[in-house]
C-alpha cells in the first residue's frame, strides 16, 4: 500500500524523466490531487472520473433497456411479445423478463467489473490485493485483469 495519506496539492516534480513512455492516463493520474477535485455525478472533474463515468453511464443505459425494455414492449405490443418461442416453448415476454433480465444484469455486472479493472490498469493503479488471486477469479477470467504486478 502506498502511504497515500501524505499527498499534497500537486507540487511534486511532475515532469517524469521517462515521460513519453508512461501511458497518458497514468501520467495525468499522478498529476491530480483527488481531494481537491469536486465530486459531481453530472460534472466529472478528473480524467479518471470522466472515463469511469463513461463506463457507468453506458452500463446503466444497457441495464435500463434489458430490465425495463421487455416489460414495456409487452405493454405496448402484447401480440408480438406473447408469441411462443420455438424449442424452449416460452412465451417471448416471459422468457425475456424471467431469464433475460436477470442474466443480462449479471452479464453487465461482470462487464463493468472487468472494465473497471482495465481502467485501473490504464491509470497505473495497483490495489495490491493479496488474498483474492486464485479464488477471486470468476470463471477464470479476472486473474488477468487488475492484478498488475
Amino acid at each position: 500500500m502506498s502511504d497515500d495519506s501524505t499527498r499534497e496539492p500537486a507540487d511534486e516534480p511532475t515532469v517524469e524523466p521517462d515521460g513519453g513512455v508512461a501511458a497518458s492516463g497514468s501520467r495525468s493520474h499522478r498529476d491530480v490531487d483527488y481531494l481537491d477535485r469536486e465530486v459531481n455525478l453530472l460534472r466529472p472533474s478528473t480524467p479518471f472520473m470522466r472515463d469511469h463515468l463513461r463506463i457507468i453511464w453506458t452500463g446503466f443505459a444497457a441495464w435500463a433497456l434489458v430490465v425495463f425494455g421487455p416489460v414495456t414492449l409487452t405493454a405496448v405490443a402484447p401480440g408480438v411479445m406473447t408469441t411462443t418461442m420455438p424449442v424452449v416453448g416460452f412465451p417471448l415476454h416471459y422468457f425475456l423478463v424471467a431469464i433475460g433480465a436477470p442474466v443480462g444484469a449479471l452479464t453487465l455486472a461482470f462487464w463493468y467489473a472487468r472494465k473497471r479493472d482495465a481502467l485501473d490498469e490504464e491509470y497505473g493503479i495497483n490495489h495490491g490485493t493479496t488474498a483474492d488471486g486464485p479464488d477471486g477469479a470468476p470463471e477464470g477470467t479476472a486473474t488477468d485483469g487488475g492484478r498488475a504486478e
Partner: protein
C-alpha cells in the same frame, strides 16, 4: 396487491400441506441450528472490528456467498415462487427487482461504500451529513426495516414449521400462530447466544444449505414428475402453455404501472438496505467489493432462475392433486407461500427429503432475520444509544441495550406475524420501499454530489418517511385493525391513492420527490464543510487505501483542520 390481501385472513393453515410432527425433518432442523451455533463459537471474535465488519478481511467468493445468504430470505426461498404461482407475470417483477438492483449497487455504490469504511448504515448518514438528527432518522428507519422485513420471515418460518413440527398447540393460538411464536423464540435465543459471532462464516454455510436444498428439491421434483431432466430452469418453458393464462399472460393480475413501480422499488430498495451495505464494509479492498458483488449476484441467480420453474411445477401438481389454482376458491396465499414444500410433498417424495426442502426455507429465514436483527439492534445500541443518548456508555450497557432491542424486535415481529396482512414477498417489499425511499437517496446523493448537506438530508429523509407511511396507513394498517373503520370494502381508505401510490411500490413516487427535495434544500442552504467534501472525494479517488483505513482517516491526516459541525 389488493387481490391477494383479502382471502388469506380466512385460514392460515395451507391446504394440502401434511401438518404433523415428523421426526427426521425435526432432527435435521435441530442439527442445522446447532451447527450454526457451533460455527459461531469456533469463529468467535473479541474486538469490535471483528464483531461488526469481520476484520475487513473477507474475500470475493466468501463475501459473495454471504451476500447471497444474507439476501435470500424466506421471501426468495418461499415467497417468490408463491407470487409467481399466484400472480403470474406480475410475480416476475420480484425476480427482476431483486436481482437487477445489484448492478446499480455495483456501479454506483459498492466500492465507494467500501472506501467510506464505517460500520453501519446510520453511521454513514450521520458522519456524511454531520448530523445526529440524520443519524437518528436513519437508525429508526433501519429498525423499522428490520421489523417490517422480519414479519415476512416469521410468516415463512411459521408456515414451514407447522409442516415439520405439526400443531404444537399453544393454548389460545392456532397451529400456525404457535409455530410463529416458537420459531421466533428460537431465533431470538439463537441471536442472543451467538451475536455477530462468525456471522459471515455462518452465512456462507447457510447459503450452501439453502441453495442445495432448493436445487435438489427442484431437480428431484422435475425429474420424478417427468417435467425436466438436466436444466429445469429452461425446461419449464414447455409447461407454461398448460398452466392457464393466469400464469403467464401479461398484466391480467396487476397493471403495467404496478409492475414497474414494484420492480423499481425493489431495485432502489436493494441499494438502500442497511444489512446489504454492511457486506461491503467487511471486504479487504474496494476491488473485492466490486467482484464480490458480481459473485453475489451470480449466487443469487442460481436460486432466482430456479424459482419460476419450481412455481410452474408446484402449480401444475396443485392443479392435479388438490384443485384449480386460479378462480374461486383457488389456491390461498398460505398455500402459495409453501408451494416449494408443497410441490415436493405432492410429488410423493420421501418425508426426509421434503423436510430437507423445508429446512432450507428455515435456514433462509433465520439467516436473514439474524442479519436484520443485528442491523436493527446495532442501530439502536450503537447509533442512538451510544452516539446520542449516553455517550459514556460502558460495553456492558451497550450489549444490554443491543440484547434488549433484539428481544423487542422479536416481540413486535411475532405479534405482527400472528395475523399477517399479506404474503411473504409483499410484506418484505414494504421494507424495500422504505429503504428505497429514505436511505437510497441519502447514500446515492451523499456519495455522488459533494454539496448535499445536512439540511437537505434531513428534509429528504423526512419526506421519504412521509411518502412511505401514506400508503401503509392507506392500505396496510386497516388489515391490522388500525383505521379499519375508515377503510372501504376492499380494505383501502382511498382507492385512487392506492392505485398510484401502492405500498408495495411507493418508492417509484418517493425517490424522485426525495431527490428533488434533498437537492433543492441543499442548494438554498450553506454548503457542507470542506472536511466533509474531502471525505466524499476520497470515496471516489482511485488511489488505493489501506485495508483498515476509512475515508475519514485519510482526510483527517491531511490536517485541513476544523471539526465537523454538530447538530
Amino acid at each position: 396487491m389488493t387481490g391477494l390481501l383479502v382471502p388469506l385472513q380466512s385460514g392460515l393453515l395451507p391446504e394440502g400441506l401434511n401438518v404433523s410432527f415428523k421426526l427426521v425433518p425435526a432432527i435435521m432442523v435441530t442439527a442445522m441450528l446447532l451447527l450454526f451455533l457451533a460455527i459461531g463459537y469456533v469463529f468467535k471474535v473479541a474486538d469490535t472490528e471483528g464483531m461488526w465488519v469481520g476484520g475487513r478481511s473477507i474475500g470475493n467468493v466468501e463475501n459473495g456467498m454471504a451476500i447471497g445468504a444474507n439476501w435470500m430470505s424466506a421471501a426468495s426461498y418461499l415467497g417468490m415462487a408463491a407470487l409467481i404461482a399466484l400472480s403470474g407475470f406480475y410475480g416476475l417483477a420480484f425476480i427482476v427487482g431483486w436481482s437487477a438492483g445489484y448492478f446499480i449497487l455495483l456501479i454506483f455504490m459498492a466500492a465507494q461504500m467500501r472506501r467510506f469504511g464505517k460500520y453501519t448504515a446510520p453511521d454513514f448518514v450521520g458522519d456524511r451529513f454531520n448530523s445526529d438528527g440524520a443519524r437518528a432518522i436513519a437508525a429508526v428507519t433501519t429498525f423499522l426495516i428490520g421489523f417490517v422485513y422480519a414479519i415476512g420471515q416469521a410468516r415463512g418460518m411459521g408456515l414451514v414449521g407447522v409442516y415439520i413440527f405439526g400443531d404444537i398447540g399453544i393454548p389460545g393460538l392456532s397451529g400456525y400462530q404457535s409455530m410463529v411464536v416458537a420459531m421466533m423464540a428460537i431465533t431470538v435465543g439463537y441471536l442472543t447466544l451467538s451475536g455477530m459471532l462468525g456471522a459471515t462464516k455462518n452465512m456462507a454455510v447457510q447459503y450452501v444449505i439453502l441453495i442445495v436444498a432448493f436445487l435438489a428439491g427442484l431437480y428431484v421434483v422435475g425429474f420424478t414428475q417427468g417435467y425436466s431432466t438436466v436444466l429445469p430452469q429452461i425446461e419449464y418453458g414447455a409447461l407454461i402453455s398448460q398452466l392457464g393464462t393466469e400464469f403467464s399472460e401479461p398484466f391480467v393480475n396487476e397493471s403495467y404501472y404496478l409492475w414497474i413501480a414494484t420492480a423499481f422499488s425493489l431495485v432502489v430498495g436493494t441499494c438502500g438496505l442497511p444489512h446489504v451495505l454492511v457486506r461491503f464494509y467487511t471486504v479487504e479492498s474496494e476491488r473485492t467489493a466490486r467482484w464480490s458483488t458480481v459473485w453475489g449476484l451470480g449466487f443469487i441467480l442460481l436460486l432466482y432462475l430456479s424459482a419460476p420453474a419450481f412455481a410452474a411445477f408446484g402449480t401444475d401438481l396443485y392443479a392435479q392433486n388438490i384443485g384449480p389454482v386460479y378462480g374461486d376458491p383457488g389456491m390461498t396465499s398460505a398455500a402459495g407461500d409453501v408451494i416449494v414444500v408443497l410441490a415436493a410433498q405432492l410429488a410423493n417424495l420421501p418425508t426426509w427429503f421434503v423436510g430437507l426442502v423445508a429446512a432450507g426455507g428455515i435456514a433462509a429465514a433465520i439467516a436473514t432475520t439474524a442479519g436484520l436483527f443485528i442491523a436493527g439492534s446495532s442501530a439502536i445500541a450503537h447509533d442512538i444509544y451510544v452516539n446520542i443518548v449516553n455517550e459514556d456508555a460502558t460495553q456492558r450497557q451497550q450489549v444490554l441495550v443491543g440484547r434488549l432491542s433484539i428481544v423487542a424486535l422479536g416481540v413486535f415481529t411475532t405479534l405482527a406475524a400472528l395475523d399477517p396482512a399479506a404474503p411473504i414477498a409483499a410484506l418484505v417489499s414494504y421494507a424495500f420501499s422504505l429503504a428505497g425511499a429514505v436511505l437510497f437517496p441519502m447514500f446515492f446523493l451523499g456519495l455522488w454530489w459533494e454539496n448535499t448537506n445536512r439540511q437537505g438530508a434531513l428534509a429528504g429523509m423526512t419526506t421519504g418517511l412521509l411518502i412511505w407511511f401514506t400508503p401503509i396507513v392507506n392500505e396496510v394498517l386497516p388489515s391490522y385493525g388500525l383505521f379499519a373503520g375508515a377503510a372501504g370494502a376492499d380494505g383501502v381508505i382511498f382507492p385512487a391513492l392506492a392505485q398510484w401510490l401502492p405500498a408495495i411500490g411507493s418508492a417509484l413516487v418517493a425517490v424522485p420527490v426525495v431527490f428533488a427535495v434533498t437537492i433543492g434544500v441543499s442548494l438554498v442552504t450553506d454548503e457542507p464543510p470542506l472536511e466533509t467534501k474531502r471525505m466524499v472525494r476520497q470515496c471516489h479517488s482511485p488511489e488505493p487505501m489501506g485495508q483498515q483505513q476509512t475515508a475519514e482517516d485519510v482526510v483527517g491526516n491531511d490536517g485541513s483542520g476544523g471539526t465537523p459541525a454538530d447538530d
